[in-house]
Subunit: 291 residues, 2 copies
Amino acid sequence: LLLHAGAGDRTQSLNEGEPAWHDALRAAVDRARGVLESGGTALDAAQAAVASMEDEADQFNAGRGSVLCADGSVEMSAAVMRGEDRAAGAVAGITTSRYPSQAARLVLDSPHVLLIAQPADTFAAAAGAEQCDPSYFATERQRARLGDHLAEVDGGTVGAVCLDTHGNLAAVTSTGGIRGQIPGRVGDTPVIGAGTWADAYAAVSCTGQGEAFIRVAVGHEIAALVRAGVPLAQATGEALSAVAQVGGRGGLIALDAAGNASLPFSTEVMPRAIWRAGGDTITLIGPAEAP
Amino acid sequence: LLLHAGAGDRTQSLNEGEPAWHDALRAAVDRARGVLESGGTALDAAQAAVASMEDEADQFNAGRGSVLCADGSVEMSAAVMRGEDRAAGAVAGITTSRYPSQAARLVLDSPHVLLIAQPADTFAAAAGAEQCDPSYFATERQRARLGDHLAEVDGGTVGAVCLDTHGNLAAVTSTGGIRGQIPGRVGDTPVIGAGTWADAYAAVSCTGQGEAFIRVAVGHEIAALVRAGVPLAQATGEALSAVAQVGGRGGLIALDAAGNASLPFSTEVMPRAIWRAGGDTITLIGPAEAP
């Protein structure tokens, strides 16, 4: 199991609250572990980890505590994909579903793959997903930050990739987008093949300057390279280089079917977590600590 | 230059109006030829061809004459991509922009890549794109068809791929989605890497059961195979086989950088056109006529 909580530059709030980031990552790993240890699938576990991070209002840019659009609204996107059968679900620009990752999962379990805007929330609600007033998602912290100088890469998108004991890969990503974005802007998170991808070869969840990640189709690119025999770490490196070629920075987490892990990023930090069955949870923020 | 006007089953209206389909395809080719012959780029030409088909109310499922959602509304999506620099633009779920392909092009020319729903129309309008009342797009023919038995694959999405004399590839796709779809449902058309893709190796525009095309990342899959040395026709065949593996049917048009063309489909028909500089325009509907 790998988690990320966004690739970005080292911000003051991160420096001041670093222990809380480690704690929140660890809590998300624990949720996923619980799911796996009670027989849940890779997809169930990845979704549980992301839901844990969506509920966390002070650290992450997903679910409650998401960044605000230029008009002060919160628009969230999420995607899930199951490698075994390439089933996928995504939602973009939703405003009332408490767990965007759950809304995406409900889409996966339907004949649809991508639903957008208000009808996506309506669909999720009809399928049983908890709904909240849009004001629930907009925290005081994010209201205060909206007026701040924008960091080039803001970070905070969350994601999880998982390989279970049955050999199934899955990927889940959830985001509030970019601070100050115009309403209606959607990044790579809900674009299956870009920010989120899982097939029989690799599971990938991305974070960073979403437009660049879409233009490189990062998720599918990595899986296609792995399928062609390229080692995972080389494949993720090539994909991030391609992102840089189109002017983007960011990071990603990836697993292949053999359990190899790769967690590269081209920003200053990418809070992330690694857990393998029988092992300890490792949480990391910056590059110097890379395993 | 290759065009498609959707992959689907042979319908009564197609049988009765087949000459009109050939005429409409030919008119779209002529528009693109004019652009190329006056020095326009591959992207300009592909966009012009698609705009011509978006204006055509009686044949195609894009722009005016798009299929209706279950609630009688029209929601359109489009995407454009330029192979040279992988610049991309897409809109999903728009309702007032006369030419969805133009709205997508305006997104390409902005810092964004994907804009959705009403804000996407607002963005396009601010950038000068002609807006219409939503009722402009809903034709009597489509109102009557909404109550009909749904064909499994309805067809009518339009697309163009082009290679210009400078060696630049481009792809454009535009659609009204699936007849009777729930509002908010989005298929593969605006998913860069799925229904629409162009890079230095290949340009691809797809049509068919969009959910399956997303799950295979068809556009990027074909370009990645071509980059790996697989002949274009083999690459498109493998991608359509993968679509079938996840339960989908449809078709696509693809060009590689050497000018090889591939126009496969797994449905009964895919109205399509082929034009090479100095040659005649070829328009085709069914498989028996395949070149």
